[in-house]
Amino acid sequence: MLVLALITPFALSGRTDLVTLATNVLILSMLAISFDLCWGMSGIMSFGQALFFGVAGYAIALVGRDLEFSHIWGTLPLAMLVGLVLAGLFAVFLLLGRKTPTVIFVALGTLTGSYAAERLVSGWQYVGAGNGLSSVKLLQLGSYEFVEGIEFYFLALITLCAVYLGARQITRSQLGLVLAGMRQNEERLAFFGYRVQLFKALIFSIAGMIAGLAGALYSYHQGFIGPGNMGPGLSTTAVLYCLFGGAGTLIGPVIGTAMVEVITYTLADLQSVKQFWPVILGLVLLAVVMFQPKGILGLIVSDRERIGSFGLRQRKDD
């Protein structure tokens, strides 16, 4: 897949619209991975992942507009911090109660946060209200400015690889074993001495940080960030990316994002289909949940390979 990702921009070099599409896929894949860390890996149903994506996107757009600052060494860490802190605050309310919160409670809590933020921003003139913030200052590395194209594509690819490897390090480590256990029976883990809520809050915050990073790149790449980028629409789409590709695999959400975005792009020119596309996407999500809950990757990867081994295989390899 990495080889394919490396040659894609050169194969598409004559088509700037397709390079832009490919870059979008890479950025949105990070959002999908952030959801996979929550749901696929840890059993936390975050239906508001776009909130952290959008708020971080707005944050760097405002820093560019008001402070004239868009250096990569400052803004991307800022976006990650915004996502981390915001998700951390949500975790305090939703996950750190004395009693174990239900999946529905967390799903509705995050969805409500995402919806409320979208409505708030839509009526707030300082952040452009319903029009959002356009002409976002270009991302800078020294005196170099990243514009849409191959350079931004590789920046997104490098960032996605780093996010994937970081997430993989978490999920394949002994910490990942705790997450796998938590996903299967979190109440049982408490009787082993694990403070489960703390682990959930940690993963939720890390996922928020990744979503924030993706939101910043999206904002710079599009040159625009709007209320819709933090609302339930994008949050639900992130769920679709992940479930379509295969939750709990990290690579499945990347495949799911690519497939959904490419199909959406292809059908965008067909007016007769375009107006029904959200409905079709919804039906696809329903069909996946009902008939192929392990996603596309579930067709070729066994449960054993998906969950992996945390101890013995490592022991044999040593």
């Binding site: 002994q174 910490l175 074993l177 705790v178 408490a190 009787f191 082993f192």
Partner: protein
């Protein structure tokens, strides 16, 4: 002998049903203590209240000199209490080895877990524990692929992997064949050197063979308490068992 667990005047109700009714119960260090009684007598509820699965409505629980009445399950586990549930609750999608690793590594800090620092060091301990419970050759299998009896043994091994001061076993031989019950007795005998034990069990022959003391519950209350010999000759206990069992 020092008291390890001291339950005083414990109450637990579910709606109008008083499952545990003013129970006093104590376990000495180094003893194997059996909890017996007819169905619905409150044995499992008492065990769960001690482990923290249920919070008591009234009364107190002191463990190893510390009041744990309002402590969470993870706090009780870290204090040295380990519970094996009546219904097996192994993690079905993890391998047998990973089930034990998960328990063995509990209590480590996040950084250590993220760096997988103890994976290699814990290996010998895990394999030794699996060997003791006749599961070493099943280590790579998924827990859900084990037979019911093997899942029970795995769960006991997991409960022991916490290195508890007090092990709470709720019907460890439930659903086992006579041969598996006999083997379970053999597997439990050596843990006397490691920790104390409270065991809920319906098989009276099994519990008589391994326990030093017995407490008999009936309708949420303590009916009698004493050595195995004292309980065997107790008229009150015989009356309950001959009238209801």
């Amino acid at each position: 002998m020092a008291t390890l667990l001291d339950v005083q005047n414990l109450e637990k109700s579910f709606g109008v049903l008083r499952a545990v009714d003013h129970i006093d119960f104590a376990v000495e260090v180094g003893t194997f203590h059996g909890l017996i009684g007819p169905n619905g007598s409150g044995k499992s509820t008492l065990l769960k209240a001690i482990a923290g699965a249920h919070f008591a409505d009234a009364g107190s629980i002191t463990f190893d000199g510390r009041d744990i009445t309002r402590a969470t399950p993870w706090e009780r586990a870290r204090a040295g209490l380990s519970l094996k549930f009546q219904i097996t609750a192994v993690l079905p999608e993890l391998s047998v080895y990973d089930n034990v690793l998960l328990v063995t590594q509990a209590g480590q800090d996040l950084w250590s877990l993220l760096r997988s620092r103890t994976r290699r060091r814990l290996d010998a301990e895990i394999m030794d524990l699996l060997a003791r419970f006749r599961l070493a050759d099943q280590a790579e299998r998924l827990a859900r692929e084990l037979s019911h009896g093997q899942q029970q043994w795995l769960e006991i091994a997991m409960a022991l992997a916490l290195k508890p001061k007090l092990l709470l076993l709720d019907e460890p031989t439930g659903g086992m064949s006579p041969e598996e019950r006999r083997v379970t007795g053999e597997l439990l005998a050596p843990i006397r050197a490691q920790c104390s034990l409270v065991i809920v069990e319906h098989d009276l022959d099994f519990i008589r063979d391994i326990c030093d003391r017995l407490t008999v519950l009936d309708q949420g209350r303590v009916l009698d308490d004493g050595t195995v010999e004292q309980i065997q000759s107790s008229a009150k206990v015989q009356q309950v068992y001959t009238s209801r069992v």
